[in-house]
Subunit: 208 residues, 2 copies
DNA sequence: CCATGCAGTTAACAACTGTTCTCTGGATTT
DNA sequence: AAATCCAGAGAACAGTTGTTAACTGCATGG
């Protein structure tokens, strides 16, 4: 059973989460490599030195943010790719799901898009690892589809990567369209849907 | 005729270029939003105040770097997409050309990949504008292909964006593989080629 | 109930930042 | 040849940064 953790550790995790939240907020207008430790603690309202009780450095905090932003996404991936229905339905559902996710967690999406190629190596590697996990999961889902008969493992993974990258691009476009008139968002939906459709067509006509 | 510019302006452009080069070097291990003005001038060997003779801020310098990194790429795009040969030949040639470009200008490629979603708004916009121009150019090239009969303008642009994004992803992967054993690079080549092939297949079976 | 652990505080450190003002010396113009 | 211009130097500014050390007070385990 889950042991109720003491008042002590509860407070600690509370301020830790406050640091993560404050950092995520500050990162909407800058990159991680320019995020100062004092800046974060100031936003939370704690002393600068309190930071060290939770993270070694801002890079360390960044790795924790990767976990928070992508770690909880794996179940969603599985259920999305594997939902029943014909190809067209699945595509529409996937794009909608991405749009809703960007609406719900815009700061998370922005952080991942920004730091995927950002200036902090450990964070880049953490994101790369998570995306590789995504690709592998998508691959196993694709492998279960009867359409995947005759596909080599390598080709399945190459297609999975195509889908994952496309997902990120689409999410980033939805993010840019957040402050725009709703027409923009619909345009992103149209384009993303058609791109996925084109990939899907290419898949069904693929000859290993 | 091109008027030979005086010793005065020649020196100025020389230090300006030195600032750009130094910045590009420093940006291999950080993002633009954490790049300090003093840091750049120190690397060049000039006084910090000299910076203002050339740029208003590091963000301004970043915009200039976008111009340098992407501005000279347009002719290459045109000749690549429009070279003769069947679809397969063009794909192989395109991937090779990307690989060579990453080899020749790794810092430029890294800068674009990093700052495309980076923390400095004017730079993001400059990159977005250039990529949009690329997409439009690719679109006009695609439109000339007989395979594009019956394609709407919207769908042509959607396909062009798919190609441009794919180009950037591939370039970024080649960049990561630069310090790795040559086997890595060949793997990137294989995957990128097949992804383009799949897109090409989807394109030939597309029904507007 | 008392001793220990530990999250968070306070104070201070040298180093660094962007920006302003003043100045200089050589190229440019007249 | 003299007057002007202007890229770059130099010094100083207030403000920021990461990191160390010694501390306080409260929840915890014996």
């Amino acid at each position: 059973m889950s042991h109720t953790l003491g008042v002590r550790q509860a407070q600690k995790q509370k301020t830790r989460q406050a640091l993560l939240d404050a950092a995520l907020g500050l990162l909407e207008e800058q990159s991680l490599s320019s995020l100062g430790l004092r800046e974060v603690t100031r936003a939370v309202g704690v002393a600068p030195t309190a930071f060290y009780r939770h993270f070694r450095s801002t890079a360390d905090l960044g790795v924790a943010l990767v976990e928070e932003a992508l770690g909880s996404l794996h179940p969603m991936i599985r259920t999305t790719v594997s939902t029943a229905g014909d190809s067209e339905e699945r595509i529409v559902r996937a794009v909608e799901l991405i749009a809703r996710h960007v609406d719900a967690f815009p700061a998370h999406v922005r952080f991942i898009a920004r730091e995927r190629h950002g200036g902090v190596q450990p964070v880049r590697e953490a994101i790369r690892d998570q995306l590789l996990r995504f690709a592998r999961e998508v691959k196993t889902e694709l492998a279960e589809d009867p359409e995947a008969d005759g596909w080599s493992d390598e080709d399945l993974l190459m297609l999975a990567h195509l889908y994952v990258d496309q997902m990120l691009i689409t999410a980033s476009l939805f993010l840019e369209a957040l402050d725009c008139p709703p027409g923009e968002r619909e345009q992103v939906t149209r384009t993303a849907t058609r791109q996925l459709r084109l990939i899907s067509i290419g898949r069904s006509h693929w000859t290993g």
